[in-house]
């Protein structure tokens, strides 16, 4: 049994740290729980930052270098705060043959950002996915967690324009 590391105080009074702590406790503060814990951090805070990585590292007694290595290895973890809205475009094979590549280019032009970026005003994050399992309803786009099956360029465009003040440049 690993000793309960009481020495690591929560980084702040923010209640979300309790959730992170609960996940660590459930896994007995084992180092193997690292990815599970990072999932909880990202779910609670939206992304991983220095403070959270350091907190997790010292709580699980893992070198910070390793925590950083794991966090940056996996695509799913983000080290930047997400925008207010998120638009995920699937670029998996099923969607690609149904034109999701063009759809992505259209959105990139519309929002003046590339996949993986967030607009400067923090309104929209654009994300490329590798198949979300909705291939039979391709092309698939996920807007704020809701899957849009057989996404049409103009419908997506309309939605985005509502968010990103079209001629802001």
């Amino acid at each position: 049994m690993q000793p309960y590391p009481e020495s690591v105080p929560l980084p702040s009074a923010d209640k979300r740290w309790k959730l992170v702590e609960a996940t660590m406790r459930r896994h007995g503060y084992k180092a193997s729980a690292l990815i599970e814990v990072l999932h909880t951090v990202q779910e609670s805070f939206g992304y991983l930052d220095d403070t959270s990585l350091r907190f997790v590292a010292s709580s699980l007694r893992i070198p910070i270098s390793k925590v950083f290595g794991v966090a940056t290895y996996y695509h799913f973890f983000s080290m930047k705060p997400p925008g207010e809205h998120t638009c995920v475009v699937c670029l998996g094979t099923g969607c690609y043959v149904k034109g999701s590549g063009e759809l992505m280019k259209m959105i990139e032009r519309e929002a003046h950002i590339c996949a993986g970026e967030t607009t400067p005003d923090g309104k929209l994050s654009l994300v490329a996915a590798r198949c979300i399992g909705s291939c039979s309803l391709a092309p698939a786009v996920v807007i704020d967690g809701e899957v849009i099956p057989r996404a049409q360029a103009n419908a997506v465009q309309e939605q985005l324009r509502r968010w990103i003040g079209h001629d802001s440049r």
Binding site: G69, Y73, Y74, F76, T93, R130, G133, C135
Partner: protein, 554 residues
């Protein structure tokens, strides 16, 4: 819970269901949900309530029925009719469906179960999908669920169970096609106090969603298969490694585990025996290579998911250096029917070397996109034209891509080939996990090859040089060809470099990454030559054809 007690629950569940004379099953798997089948469900439920028919007519939330193209899908029994494309915003239509349950189905939306898409399938893995409520364990027990597990524990020796799987001829459905029984016997014989069972639900191949549908529609089936495996190899702890992109599958798995533990069908002292098996879900974090078994194990350990050389194989040294049995979702989903019906029954289905059925995800340029399960050996032509309903808009078939980024593109001349592990291999592709992406004449094969090399280049973990550098170089060459800057020598270089990467890469990712390139160079050489000599892409997909035309348009 003992076997007798389980049978009592099953019996009372069946009695309860007998009282229901009419059933309206609504698919609430991810595909139909994204078309708002939850709204359809609620309205149908209200309509039944309004008529005071709740006693005799049940509106039931069920898993995937397969024909995603026509969602939201509903099936009405005993009318024996599917309803397709039901409008969630039209209570009138839904009300008419409830009104007609004793008469003629509403014709505008009715779909006969006799169409080839349904009739030509043989559902073993998917037998409960679209039939039972995935979030009710009683439903699963009612169709005989967990009886195979408790029977094995109570009446069969571990060796006997392993022998049954060996005799069945079942091969791994995760891509490699390794004989499942052999793997089980290796783990069973491996020395070690602690052993693990891991279910690979990473399903990384883009264009494939078989595992997703099984997990969302019938999670207990996978859990029972894992528990039988654990009993057979004497493991006490299990993990399901599920990708983060499948939140609904994760949720239903967690619900299912909790339910099974509560009834003593998982966890400590299963069936009041000495056998214990605890299962946990681990969520992936979006790295394709984590589908590879050694990388997956590293990821479960909380490490970067990087593969390591084998041997030692996970069967001898896997999770925490303990003997570990790792199988795919569909492989585990095949276990219960084999145990229940016997190895001979299973071995009588399929072809000489590929037994049983295979679930395929039919996607791309095909009318009936969705999920199908057919006996091994069915002709590609039947899959695409009969079940799949052919190519939309009267376009011509060009190729079908199988095996994801590790597979290849199969051209028209192979349409009459029966699909199994060996035949796909001989056609320059692989079975892979079961994604089948149909492409019509508008697809450009250079573009497709480039697409896959972009994928593997991006997903290469970087540990070994052949894969890290090789995929980048192959991609660069394809990019040049697509820009009209290729040279004829490039075709040989692609081939030579591809072979080198195949021979020298550390793990399956690199060893198979050149396949999409070599198969397209082999079957669609003309297209490459056209890009190189004419500097155009006949399909208008590549930059070489686009630059002038868009410039002219503006």
């Amino acid at each position: 819970m003992t076997l007798d007690e389980l049978q009592e629950i099953a019996e009372s569940e069946r009695e309860a269901q007998k009282k229901i004379t009419h059933r309206i099953n609504v698919s609430v798997a991810a595909g139909c949900l994204s078309l708002h089948s939850d709204v359809v469900f609620n309205i149908l439920h209200e309509e039944v309530k309004k008529r005071g028919m709740e006693e005799s007519c049940k509106v039931k939330a069920v898993g995937c029925m397969g024909l995603c193209a026509a969602g939201p899908l509903v099936r009405s029994e005993p009318q024996h009719t599917y309803y397709r494309g039901l409008p969630p915003d039209s209570p009138e239509v839904l009300s008419a469906i409830v009104d007609s349950i004793n008469g003629r189905p509403v014709p505008e939306f009715a779909l006969s179960p006799e169409i080839p898409f349904f009739a030509a399938q043989k559902r073993i893995v998917l037998e409960n999908c679209g039939e039972i409520d995935p979030e009710r364990i009683e439903d699963y027990i009612g169709v005989g669920g967990y009886q195979s597990l408790l029977t094995c524990i109570a009446k069969r020796s571990r060796e006997d169970v392993v022998q049954e799987i060996i005799k069945s001829g079942l091969r791994g459905r995760g891509g490699g096609g390794y004989p499942t029984g052999l793997k089980w016997s290796m783990v069973a014989k491996a020395a070690g106090e602690q052993k693990y069972v891991i279910c690979n639900a990473d399903e990384g191949d883009p264009g494939a969603f078989m595992d997703r549908s099984v997990l969302e529609s019938d999670p207990h089936r996978v859990l029972e298969g894992m528990a039988i495996a654990a009993y057979a190899v004497a493991a006490t702890k299990g993990y399901i490694y599920c990708r983060a992109e499948y939140p609904l599958a994760v949720k239903r798995l967690k619900v299912a585990i909790r339910q099974a533990e509560k009834l003593g069908l998982l966890g400590k002292r299963i069936g009041e025996s000495d056998f214990s098996f605890e299962v946990e879900v681990r969520i992936g974090a979006g790295a394709f290579v984590c589908g590879e078994e050694t990388a997956l194990i590293a990821s479960v350990e909380g490490e970067r998911g990087v593969p390591r050389p084998r041997p030692p194989f996970p069967a001898y040294s896997g999770l925490n250096h303990c003997p570990t049995l790792l199988n795919n979702v569909e492989t585990f989903a095949n276990i219960v029917p084999i145990v229940r019906n016997g190895a001979e029954w299973f071995a009588s289905i399929g072809t000489d070397k590929s037994k049983g059925t295979k679930v395929f995800a039919l996607v791309g340029d095909v009318v009936n996109t969705g999920l199908i399960e057919v006996p091994m050996g069915m002709k590609l032509r039947d899959l695409v034209y009969s079940l799949g309903g052919g190519i939309p808009d009267n376009k011509k078939f060009k190729a079908v891509q199988t095996g994801g980024p590790s597979g290849g593109c199969i051209p028209e001349q192979f349409l009459d080939m029966g699909v199994d592990y060996e035949s796909l291999m001989s056609a320059g592709s692989i079975m892979g996990s079961g994604g089948m992406i149909v492409m019509d004449e508008t697809a450009c094969m250079v573009d497709v090859a480039k697409f896959f090399m972009d994928f593997t280049r991006d997903e290469s973990c970087g540990k070994c040089i052949p894969c890290r550098v090789g995929t980048t170089q192959l991609h660069g060459m394809l990019e040049r060809i697509s820009e009209g800057k290729g040279r004829m020598e490039d075709l040989d270089t692609l081939e030579r470099l591809g072979n080198m990467v195949k021979r020298t890469a550390l793990c399956g990712l690199g060893q198979t990454a050149p396949n999409p390139v070599s198969s397209t160079v082999r079957y669609f050489r003309d297209e490459y030559v056209q890009h190189i000599t004419n500097k155009t892409c006949a399909q208008g997909k590549c930059p070489c054809s686009k630059a002038p035309s868009t410039a002219a348009g503006k």
